[in-house]
Amino acid sequence: MLPNTIQWYFPTTVKEATKLIQKKGIILHGGGTKILEPQPRGSIKGLVDIGSLGLNYVKAVGKTIHIGSGATFADVAQFCRKKNILTMLGNSLGSAASTPLRNRITIGGSLKDFPMWSNLYAPLLALEATIEITGERAGVFSLEHYAASTLIKSKHLIKEVRVSEKKHLRCGVKAFHVVRFEYPIFNIAAALTMRENIVQNARIYITGVKKKFLRLESAEHAIRGKSITDETIDKAAGQISLTFAPDYKFSSGYKERMARVYFKDLLCEIQQGIV
Protein backbone atom coordinates (compact mmCIF):
# COMPACT_ATOMS: atom_id res chain seq x y z
CA MET A 1 0.00 0.00 0.00
CA LEU A 2 1.19 3.51 -0.79
CA PRO A 3 1.94 5.81 2.15
CA ASN A 4 -0.44 8.72 2.72
CA THR A 5 2.56 11.05 2.73
CA ILE A 6 3.25 10.40 -0.92
CA GLN A 7 4.17 13.46 -2.97
CA TRP A 8 2.71 14.04 -6.42
CA TYR A 9 4.46 15.90 -9.24
CA PHE A 10 2.82 17.04 -12.48
CA PRO A 11 5.63 18.08 -14.83
CA THR A 12 4.86 19.39 -18.30
CA THR A 13 8.16 18.51 -19.97
CA VAL A 14 10.06 15.26 -20.40
CA LYS A 15 13.22 17.00 -19.15
CA GLU A 16 11.53 18.05 -15.92
CA ALA A 17 10.10 14.56 -15.38
CA THR A 18 13.47 12.91 -16.04
CA LYS A 19 15.12 15.18 -13.49
CA LEU A 20 12.49 14.41 -10.85
CA ILE A 21 12.91 10.62 -11.08
CA GLN A 22 16.65 10.83 -10.38
CA LYS A 23 15.74 11.32 -6.71
CA LYS A 24 15.46 8.20 -4.56
CA GLY A 25 11.96 6.79 -4.17
CA ILE A 26 10.41 8.93 -6.89
CA ILE A 27 8.92 6.97 -9.74
CA LEU A 28 6.79 7.58 -12.81
CA HIS A 29 3.02 7.25 -12.80
CA GLY A 30 1.41 6.30 -16.12
CA GLY A 31 -1.76 4.23 -15.69
CA GLY A 32 -0.93 3.40 -12.10
CA THR A 33 -1.99 -0.24 -12.15
CA LYS A 34 1.47 -1.55 -11.18
CA ILE A 35 1.94 1.07 -8.48
CA LEU A 36 -1.19 -0.18 -6.69
CA GLU A 37 0.32 -3.63 -6.30
CA PRO A 38 1.94 -4.30 -2.90
CA GLN A 39 5.29 -2.47 -2.67
CA PRO A 40 8.10 -2.77 -0.14
CA ARG A 41 7.37 -0.41 2.76
CA GLY A 42 8.68 3.10 2.18
CA SER A 43 10.02 2.32 -1.29
CA ILE A 44 7.84 4.91 -3.04
CA LYS A 45 8.05 8.48 -1.80
CA GLY A 46 6.82 10.40 -4.82
CA LEU A 47 4.91 9.91 -8.05
CA VAL A 48 5.60 11.80 -11.26
CA ASP A 49 2.48 11.84 -13.40
CA ILE A 50 3.27 11.60 -17.12
CA GLY A 51 -0.22 12.67 -18.21
CA SER A 52 0.86 16.18 -19.26
CA LEU A 53 4.01 15.19 -21.15
CA GLY A 54 2.30 14.63 -24.49
CA LEU A 55 3.46 11.02 -24.67
CA ASN A 56 0.07 9.41 -25.22
CA TYR A 57 0.26 9.07 -29.00
CA VAL A 58 0.40 6.37 -31.65
CA LYS A 59 1.31 7.58 -35.12
CA ALA A 60 2.74 6.40 -38.40
CA VAL A 61 5.56 8.45 -39.89
CA GLY A 62 6.51 6.93 -43.21
CA LYS A 63 6.93 3.24 -42.61
CA THR A 64 7.66 3.62 -38.91
CA ILE A 65 5.06 3.44 -36.17
CA HIS A 66 5.83 5.62 -33.16
CA ILE A 67 4.18 4.62 -29.91
CA GLY A 68 4.47 7.11 -27.04
CA SER A 69 5.07 5.60 -23.63
CA GLY A 70 1.86 7.15 -22.30
CA ALA A 71 -0.31 5.40 -24.90
CA THR A 72 -2.48 2.69 -23.40
CA PHE A 73 -2.88 -0.88 -24.64
CA ALA A 74 -6.35 0.10 -25.87
CA ASP A 75 -4.93 3.07 -27.83
CA VAL A 76 -2.41 0.84 -29.62
CA ALA A 77 -4.87 -2.00 -30.28
CA GLN A 78 -7.40 0.45 -31.71
CA PHE A 79 -4.77 2.13 -33.91
CA CYS A 80 -3.54 -1.20 -35.28
CA ARG A 81 -7.09 -2.40 -36.01
CA LYS A 82 -8.17 0.85 -37.66
CA LYS A 83 -5.07 1.18 -39.84
CA ASN A 84 -4.73 -2.56 -40.37
CA ILE A 85 -1.05 -2.49 -39.49
CA LEU A 86 1.05 -4.34 -36.91
CA THR A 87 -1.83 -6.79 -36.60
CA MET A 88 0.19 -9.06 -34.34
CA LEU A 89 0.77 -6.27 -31.82
CA GLY A 90 -2.84 -5.09 -32.07
CA ASN A 91 -4.18 -8.59 -31.48
CA SER A 92 -1.88 -9.20 -28.54
CA LEU A 93 -2.65 -5.92 -26.76
CA GLY A 94 -6.34 -6.04 -27.73
CA SER A 95 -6.75 -9.32 -25.87
CA ALA A 96 -4.60 -8.48 -22.86
CA ALA A 97 -6.19 -8.23 -19.41
CA SER A 98 -9.71 -6.75 -19.68
CA THR A 99 -11.31 -3.77 -21.43
CA PRO A 100 -11.13 -1.38 -18.44
CA LEU A 101 -7.56 -2.37 -17.65
CA ARG A 102 -6.49 -1.96 -21.28
CA ASN A 103 -7.72 1.61 -20.94
CA ARG A 104 -5.19 2.19 -18.14
CA ILE A 105 -2.12 0.02 -18.74
CA THR A 106 0.47 2.12 -20.55
CA ILE A 107 3.15 0.98 -22.96
CA GLY A 108 5.91 2.67 -20.94
CA GLY A 109 4.89 1.11 -17.64
CA SER A 110 4.59 -2.33 -19.15
CA LEU A 111 8.02 -2.07 -20.81
CA LYS A 112 9.76 -0.76 -17.71
CA ASP A 113 8.25 -3.33 -15.35
CA PHE A 114 8.37 -6.26 -17.78
CA PRO A 115 6.02 -8.57 -15.89
CA MET A 116 6.34 -12.29 -16.66
CA TRP A 117 2.88 -12.23 -18.21
CA SER A 118 3.65 -9.30 -20.54
CA ASN A 119 1.56 -9.37 -23.73
CA LEU A 120 3.73 -6.60 -25.08
CA TYR A 121 7.29 -7.86 -25.18
CA ALA A 122 7.07 -10.95 -27.39
CA PRO A 123 5.46 -9.19 -30.40
CA LEU A 124 7.67 -6.11 -30.06
CA LEU A 125 10.84 -8.22 -29.86
CA ALA A 126 9.80 -10.25 -32.90
CA LEU A 127 9.09 -7.02 -34.77
CA GLU A 128 12.60 -5.70 -33.95
CA ALA A 129 11.33 -2.68 -32.03
CA THR A 130 13.60 0.09 -30.81
CA ILE A 131 13.13 2.19 -27.70
CA GLU A 132 14.09 5.78 -26.90
CA ILE A 133 14.83 6.63 -23.29
CA THR A 134 15.96 9.73 -21.41
CA GLY A 135 18.05 9.87 -18.25
CA GLU A 136 21.72 9.27 -17.51
CA ARG A 137 21.96 6.63 -20.23
CA ALA A 138 19.74 8.37 -22.76
CA GLY A 139 19.60 7.05 -26.30
CA VAL A 140 17.85 4.82 -28.80
CA PHE A 141 18.36 1.10 -28.25
CA SER A 142 17.03 -2.14 -29.60
CA LEU A 143 14.30 -3.36 -27.27
CA GLU A 144 16.19 -6.63 -26.87
CA HIS A 145 19.28 -4.80 -25.59
CA TYR A 146 17.15 -2.63 -23.30
CA ALA A 147 15.40 -5.63 -21.73
CA ALA A 148 18.50 -7.80 -21.43
CA SER A 149 20.92 -5.18 -20.10
CA THR A 150 21.06 -3.02 -16.99
CA LEU A 151 19.36 -0.21 -18.93
CA ILE A 152 15.97 -1.42 -17.80
CA LYS A 153 16.99 -0.94 -14.17
CA SER A 154 18.50 2.54 -14.69
CA LYS A 155 16.61 5.68 -13.72
CA HIS A 156 15.05 6.65 -16.99
CA LEU A 157 11.91 7.72 -18.75
CA ILE A 158 10.76 5.88 -21.84
CA LYS A 159 9.81 8.36 -24.54
CA GLU A 160 8.62 6.04 -27.25
CA VAL A 161 8.88 2.69 -28.98
CA ARG A 162 9.35 2.45 -32.73
CA VAL A 163 8.45 -0.37 -35.03
CA SER A 164 9.19 -0.31 -38.74
CA GLU A 165 6.88 -1.99 -41.18
CA LYS A 166 8.66 -4.53 -43.35
CA LYS A 167 7.75 -6.15 -46.63
CA HIS A 168 7.02 -9.87 -46.97
CA LEU A 169 6.56 -10.22 -43.22
CA ARG A 170 4.18 -12.82 -41.85
CA CYS A 171 3.59 -12.62 -38.13
CA GLY A 172 1.63 -14.19 -35.36
CA VAL A 173 1.42 -14.35 -31.58
CA LYS A 174 -0.11 -16.81 -29.17
CA ALA A 175 -0.67 -16.56 -25.44
CA PHE A 176 -1.20 -19.51 -23.12
CA HIS A 177 -3.64 -18.77 -20.33
CA VAL A 178 -6.21 -20.71 -18.37
CA VAL A 179 -9.09 -18.29 -18.94
CA ARG A 180 -9.22 -15.42 -21.40
CA PHE A 181 -8.85 -12.50 -19.00
CA GLU A 182 -6.21 -14.12 -16.82
CA TYR A 183 -2.55 -13.23 -17.11
CA PRO A 184 -0.84 -15.44 -19.70
CA ILE A 185 1.65 -18.06 -18.56
CA PHE A 186 3.72 -17.35 -21.67
CA ASN A 187 3.52 -15.48 -24.95
CA ILE A 188 5.15 -16.64 -28.13
CA ALA A 189 5.52 -14.43 -31.19
CA ALA A 190 7.02 -15.02 -34.63
CA ALA A 191 7.85 -12.64 -37.46
CA LEU A 192 8.90 -14.47 -40.61
CA THR A 193 10.19 -12.79 -43.75
CA MET A 194 8.95 -15.00 -46.57
CA ARG A 195 9.43 -15.02 -50.32
CA GLU A 196 7.65 -17.56 -52.47
CA ASN A 197 6.79 -19.52 -49.35
CA ILE A 198 10.41 -19.82 -48.31
CA VAL A 199 11.44 -18.43 -44.94
CA GLN A 200 14.19 -15.89 -45.57
CA ASN A 201 14.51 -14.67 -42.04
CA ALA A 202 12.84 -15.46 -38.73
CA ARG A 203 12.56 -13.80 -35.35
CA ILE A 204 10.78 -15.92 -32.76
CA TYR A 205 10.55 -14.91 -29.11
CA ILE A 206 8.94 -16.32 -26.03
CA THR A 207 8.26 -14.50 -22.76
CA GLY A 208 7.30 -15.97 -19.39
CA VAL A 209 10.36 -18.23 -19.25
CA LYS A 210 12.79 -18.20 -16.31
CA LYS A 211 15.05 -15.66 -18.04
CA LYS A 212 11.95 -13.52 -18.78
CA PHE A 213 12.41 -13.79 -22.54
CA LEU A 214 14.25 -15.97 -24.98
CA ARG A 215 14.91 -15.84 -28.70
CA LEU A 216 14.30 -19.30 -30.16
CA GLU A 217 17.38 -19.21 -32.38
CA SER A 218 17.69 -22.95 -32.92
CA ALA A 219 14.08 -23.13 -34.07
CA GLU A 220 14.63 -20.11 -36.34
CA HIS A 221 17.67 -21.85 -37.81
CA ALA A 222 15.62 -24.98 -38.46
CA ILE A 223 13.07 -23.14 -40.63
CA ARG A 224 15.33 -20.61 -42.35
CA GLY A 225 15.67 -21.27 -46.08
CA LYS A 226 12.81 -23.78 -45.99
CA SER A 227 9.11 -23.72 -46.66
CA ILE A 228 6.86 -24.25 -43.66
CA THR A 229 5.63 -27.80 -43.75
CA ASP A 230 4.52 -30.16 -41.01
CA GLU A 231 7.96 -31.74 -41.19
CA THR A 232 9.90 -28.48 -40.76
CA ILE A 233 7.56 -27.38 -37.97
CA ASP A 234 8.13 -30.67 -36.09
CA LYS A 235 11.87 -30.39 -36.60
CA ALA A 236 11.95 -26.80 -35.38
CA ALA A 237 9.79 -27.63 -32.34
CA GLY A 238 12.21 -30.42 -31.48
CA GLN A 239 15.02 -27.86 -31.27
CA ILE A 240 13.31 -25.81 -28.59
CA SER A 241 14.75 -26.03 -25.10
CA LEU A 242 13.10 -23.87 -22.46
CA THR A 243 13.29 -23.45 -18.72
CA PHE A 244 10.20 -22.22 -16.93
CA ALA A 245 9.71 -21.58 -13.26
CA PRO A 246 7.03 -23.89 -11.86
CA ASP A 247 4.06 -22.26 -10.13
CA TYR A 248 1.00 -23.44 -8.22
CA LYS A 249 -0.80 -24.26 -11.46
CA PHE A 250 1.79 -25.84 -13.72
CA SER A 251 5.11 -27.61 -13.48
CA SER A 252 8.08 -26.41 -15.48
CA GLY A 253 7.88 -29.51 -17.71
CA TYR A 254 4.20 -28.98 -18.46
CA LYS A 255 4.80 -25.38 -19.48
CA GLU A 256 7.66 -26.47 -21.75
CA ARG A 257 5.45 -29.06 -23.45
CA MET A 258 2.67 -26.50 -23.88
CA ALA A 259 5.17 -24.02 -25.34
CA ARG A 260 6.09 -26.60 -28.01
CA VAL A 261 2.40 -27.15 -28.81
CA TYR A 262 1.79 -23.40 -29.07
CA PHE A 263 4.91 -22.97 -31.20
CA LYS A 264 3.65 -25.60 -33.65
CA ASP A 265 0.16 -24.08 -33.73
CA LEU A 266 1.61 -20.65 -34.34
CA LEU A 267 3.71 -21.74 -37.30
CA CYS A 268 0.76 -23.71 -38.73
CA GLU A 269 -1.44 -20.63 -38.46
CA ILE A 270 1.19 -18.44 -40.12
CA GLN A 271 1.53 -21.02 -42.88
CA GLN A 272 -2.22 -21.10 -43.41
CA GLY A 273 -2.46 -17.31 -43.24
CA ILE A 274 -4.77 -17.42 -40.21
CA VAL A 275 -2.77 -14.93 -38.12
Binding site: N4, W8, G31, T99, P100, L101, N103, R104, F181
Partner: protein
Protein backbone atom coordinates in the same frame (compact mmCIF):
# COMPACT_ATOMS: atom_id res chain seq x y z
CA UNK B 1 -6.10 18.28 0.65
CA UNK B 2 -9.04 19.37 -1.49
CA UNK B 3 -9.03 18.68 -5.21
CA UNK B 4 -11.64 19.72 -7.79
CA UNK B 5 -13.34 16.82 -9.54
CA UNK B 6 -15.73 16.84 -12.46
CA UNK B 7 -18.26 14.10 -11.74
CA UNK B 8 -21.45 13.56 -13.76
CA UNK B 9 -21.09 17.04 -15.30
CA UNK B 10 -20.84 18.84 -11.94
CA UNK B 11 -17.69 20.11 -10.24
CA UNK B 12 -16.99 19.06 -6.65
CA UNK B 13 -14.15 19.93 -4.28
CA UNK B 14 -13.35 16.63 -2.66
CA UNK B 15 -11.15 16.00 0.35
CA UNK B 16 -8.67 13.22 -0.29
CA UNK B 17 -5.38 11.68 0.74
CA UNK B 18 -2.66 11.48 -1.96
CA UNK B 19 -2.53 7.68 -1.87
CA UNK B 20 -6.27 7.08 -2.22
CA UNK B 21 -7.90 5.45 -5.21
CA UNK B 22 -10.71 7.03 -7.16
CA UNK B 23 -13.02 4.31 -5.80
CA UNK B 24 -12.29 5.25 -2.19
CA UNK B 25 -12.70 8.96 -2.83
CA UNK B 26 -15.97 8.54 -4.71
CA UNK B 27 -17.51 6.28 -2.08
CA UNK B 28 -16.27 8.47 0.80
CA UNK B 29 -18.17 11.35 -0.78
CA UNK B 30 -21.47 9.56 -1.32
CA UNK B 31 -21.08 8.17 -4.82
CA UNK B 32 -21.98 4.73 -3.51
CA UNK B 33 -23.41 3.65 -6.85
CA UNK B 34 -19.74 2.83 -7.57
CA UNK B 35 -19.42 -0.56 -5.92
CA UNK B 36 -16.39 -1.83 -4.08
CA UNK B 37 -15.74 -5.44 -5.11
CA UNK B 38 -12.38 -7.13 -5.49
CA UNK B 39 -10.34 -3.89 -5.41
CA UNK B 40 -7.86 -5.61 -7.74
CA UNK B 41 -9.25 -4.63 -11.13
CA UNK B 42 -10.76 -8.05 -11.74
CA UNK B 43 -14.51 -7.77 -11.11
CA UNK B 44 -15.62 -4.50 -12.73
CA UNK B 45 -18.06 -3.57 -9.93
CA UNK B 46 -16.28 -0.22 -9.52
CA UNK B 47 -16.36 0.72 -13.21
CA UNK B 48 -16.68 4.40 -14.08
CA UNK B 49 -16.15 6.32 -17.28
CA UNK B 50 -12.99 8.40 -17.17
CA UNK B 51 -13.01 10.83 -20.08
CA UNK B 52 -15.72 8.52 -21.47
CA UNK B 53 -13.56 5.38 -21.32
CA UNK B 54 -14.44 2.58 -18.87
CA UNK B 55 -11.83 2.07 -16.15
CA UNK B 56 -11.69 0.23 -12.83
CA UNK B 57 -11.84 3.07 -10.30
CA UNK B 58 -10.04 0.81 -7.80
CA UNK B 59 -7.03 0.86 -10.12
CA UNK B 60 -6.90 4.63 -10.56
CA UNK B 61 -5.16 6.91 -8.10
CA UNK B 62 -7.54 9.80 -7.47
CA UNK B 63 -4.84 12.47 -7.78
CA UNK B 64 -4.22 11.45 -11.39
CA UNK B 65 -7.82 12.24 -12.29
CA UNK B 66 -7.33 16.04 -12.06
CA UNK B 67 -8.70 17.75 -15.17
CA UNK B 68 -10.55 14.63 -16.28
CA UNK B 69 -14.25 13.94 -16.34
CA UNK B 70 -15.69 11.09 -14.29
CA UNK B 71 -19.08 9.60 -15.03
CA UNK B 72 -20.69 7.08 -12.69
CA UNK B 73 -23.76 5.00 -13.51
CA UNK B 74 -25.94 7.81 -12.12
CA UNK B 75 -24.50 10.03 -14.83
CA UNK B 76 -26.10 7.65 -17.34
CA UNK B 77 -29.51 7.22 -15.73
CA UNK B 78 -31.09 7.30 -12.29
CA UNK B 79 -33.76 5.37 -10.43
CA UNK B 80 -36.44 7.84 -11.51
CA UNK B 81 -35.09 8.57 -14.97
CA UNK B 82 -33.45 5.30 -16.03
CA UNK B 83 -31.49 4.98 -19.22
CA UNK B 84 -32.64 2.56 -21.93
CA UNK B 85 -29.77 0.24 -20.95
CA UNK B 86 -30.88 0.19 -17.30
CA UNK B 87 -34.48 -0.49 -18.38
CA UNK B 88 -33.27 -3.32 -20.63
CA UNK B 89 -31.37 -4.90 -17.73
CA UNK B 90 -34.50 -4.79 -15.57
CA UNK B 91 -36.85 -6.00 -18.33
CA UNK B 92 -34.60 -8.90 -19.32
CA UNK B 93 -33.88 -10.06 -15.76
CA UNK B 94 -30.20 -9.30 -16.22
CA UNK B 95 -29.72 -8.44 -12.58
CA UNK B 96 -30.31 -10.57 -9.54
CA UNK B 97 -28.41 -9.26 -6.54
CA UNK B 98 -27.62 -6.17 -8.62
CA UNK B 99 -24.12 -5.66 -7.28
CA UNK B 100 -22.44 -5.96 -10.67
CA UNK B 101 -25.15 -3.99 -12.51
CA UNK B 102 -23.64 -0.47 -12.28
CA UNK B 103 -20.41 -1.76 -13.83
CA UNK B 104 -22.29 -3.79 -16.44
CA UNK B 105 -24.33 -0.73 -17.43
CA UNK B 106 -21.20 1.42 -17.72
CA UNK B 107 -19.48 -1.21 -19.90
CA UNK B 108 -22.60 -1.57 -22.06
CA UNK B 109 -22.96 2.20 -22.45
CA UNK B 110 -19.38 2.46 -23.65
CA UNK B 111 -19.82 -0.49 -26.04
CA UNK B 112 -23.05 0.77 -27.62
CA UNK B 113 -21.65 4.20 -28.25
CA UNK B 114 -18.84 2.63 -30.26
CA UNK B 115 -20.77 -0.28 -31.75
CA UNK B 116 -24.52 0.42 -31.97
CA UNK B 117 -25.10 -3.00 -33.48
CA UNK B 118 -22.63 -5.21 -31.61
CA UNK B 119 -21.91 -8.82 -32.38
CA UNK B 120 -21.91 -11.39 -29.57
CA UNK B 121 -18.12 -11.35 -29.75
CA UNK B 122 -18.00 -7.58 -29.30
CA UNK B 123 -20.38 -7.83 -26.35
CA UNK B 124 -18.21 -10.51 -24.74
CA UNK B 125 -15.12 -8.37 -25.27
CA UNK B 126 -16.74 -5.25 -23.85
CA UNK B 127 -17.90 -7.12 -20.74
CA UNK B 128 -14.67 -9.06 -20.27
CA UNK B 129 -13.81 -6.99 -17.21
CA UNK B 130 -17.16 -7.50 -15.47
CA UNK B 131 -17.94 -10.50 -13.30
CA UNK B 132 -21.45 -11.58 -12.33
CA UNK B 133 -21.87 -14.40 -9.81
CA UNK B 134 -25.67 -14.69 -10.18
CA UNK B 135 -26.94 -14.65 -13.73
CA UNK B 136 -24.55 -16.76 -15.77
CA UNK B 137 -24.31 -13.90 -18.31
CA UNK B 138 -26.99 -15.17 -20.71
CA UNK B 139 -29.58 -12.63 -19.52
CA UNK B 140 -26.96 -9.90 -19.47
CA UNK B 141 -25.99 -10.50 -23.09
CA UNK B 142 -29.67 -10.56 -24.04
CA UNK B 143 -30.18 -7.26 -22.21
CA UNK B 144 -27.28 -5.67 -24.10
CA UNK B 145 -28.75 -6.84 -27.40
CA UNK B 146 -32.18 -5.57 -26.36
CA UNK B 147 -30.76 -2.18 -25.38
CA UNK B 148 -28.82 -1.99 -28.64
CA UNK B 149 -31.99 -2.65 -30.62
CA UNK B 150 -33.83 0.06 -28.65
CA UNK B 151 -31.05 2.56 -29.06
CA UNK B 152 -30.29 1.96 -32.71
CA UNK B 153 -30.24 5.23 -34.59
CA UNK B 154 -30.35 7.12 -31.30
CA UNK B 155 -27.28 9.07 -30.27
CA UNK B 156 -26.07 8.06 -26.81
Amino acid sequence: MKIPFSINSAVYELELQPHETLLTVLRNHGFTEVKSGCEEGECGACLVLLDEKPVNSCQVLAMSVRNKHVRTVKGIGTLYVPHVIQKAFAQRGADQCGFCSPGMVIATFSLLREHPNPTREQIAEALDGNLCRCTGYVKIIEAVEHAAAELRNTKL
